[in-house]
């Protein structure tokens, strides 16, 4: 399953709820204000590290750039992808859960 998270983890529990429910082998894509969950040195970093043990975590690069960040600012093992990559994830997963 593909999970998309578009809310800031500081404003909403969408990210932590998603991590709690995502099953092994899932993909989690951080988009829009959800990209703030991908940053290093935040109180969510530890939760991301744990989630990475069972899920592949992605972040949408155009949303990073819009907010003044780039792929150098995000945690290791989170993969920055473009819109084509987003489409590929949707194709590869039969169900999408938009948090």
């Amino acid at each position: 399953m593909l999970h998309t998270v578009n809310k800031s983890p500081y404003q909403s529990d969408a990210l932590t709820t998603c991590f709690g429910l995502a099953q092994p082998g899932s993909a989690v894509l951080l988009i829009e204000d959800g990209i703030y969950g991908a940053m290093t040195n935040t109180k969510f970093s530890a939760a991301v590290v744990i989630a990475q043990q069972c899920c592949a975590i992605y972040v949408l690069e155009p949303d990073l750039q819009a907010r003044g960040f780039n792929s150098d600012c995000i945690m290791n093992a989170i993969q920055a992808i473009d819109y084509d990559g987003f489409v590929s994830l949707v194709e590869a997963n039969s169900v999408v859960q938009a948090w």
């Binding site: 800031s8 500081y10 750039q65 907010r67 003044g68």
Partner: protein, 128 residues
């Protein structure tokens, strides 16, 4: 004082809030701004919205000085919680006419306790 608590681009609050500040300042209101919580992300430097096809209003913060809005209070704890420092923010400056045109920063870092006290000193507070 306008209190900015929203991240930019994901919702309309940050952009609308900035517009309201500029309108208010154009009507000679004495305006200051506070950036708290996700609001500190509004001032992140190097924002480039070309990839998401929306208006990049980050440049408009540089117009604040032209409207005599020279007090932008950024809460230190909010920056730290988000892994940011003041060096990650846009360099916003103005020439202080009351101090021999010295170039000064629009941004003042303020700790949470002091910001709370600053709120108490305001006549009107609007949140975005």
């Amino acid at each position: 004082m306008y209190v900015n608590r929203s991240a930019p681009h994901g919702t309309i609050y940050a952009h609308e809030g900035l517009e309201v500040v500029l309108v208010g300042a154009a009507f000679d209101q004495e305006v200051s701004m506070a950036f708290v919580g996700d609001g500190v992300f509004q001032l992140k430097q190097a924002q480039d919205t070309s990839g998401i096809g929306t208006k990049n209003f980050a440049g408009a913060y540089r117009a604040l000085a032209d409207y005599d809005v020279t007090r932008l209070y950024v809460e230190t704890e909010s920056l730290e919680e988000r892994g940011l420092t003041v060096d990650d923010l846009m360099p916003l400056t103005y020439d202080d006419e009351g101090d021999d045109d010295q170039e000064k920063s629009l941004i003042t870092l303020i700790d949470r306790a002091s910001l709370g006290q600053l709120f108490e000193a305001q006549d009107v507070i609007l949140n975005f």
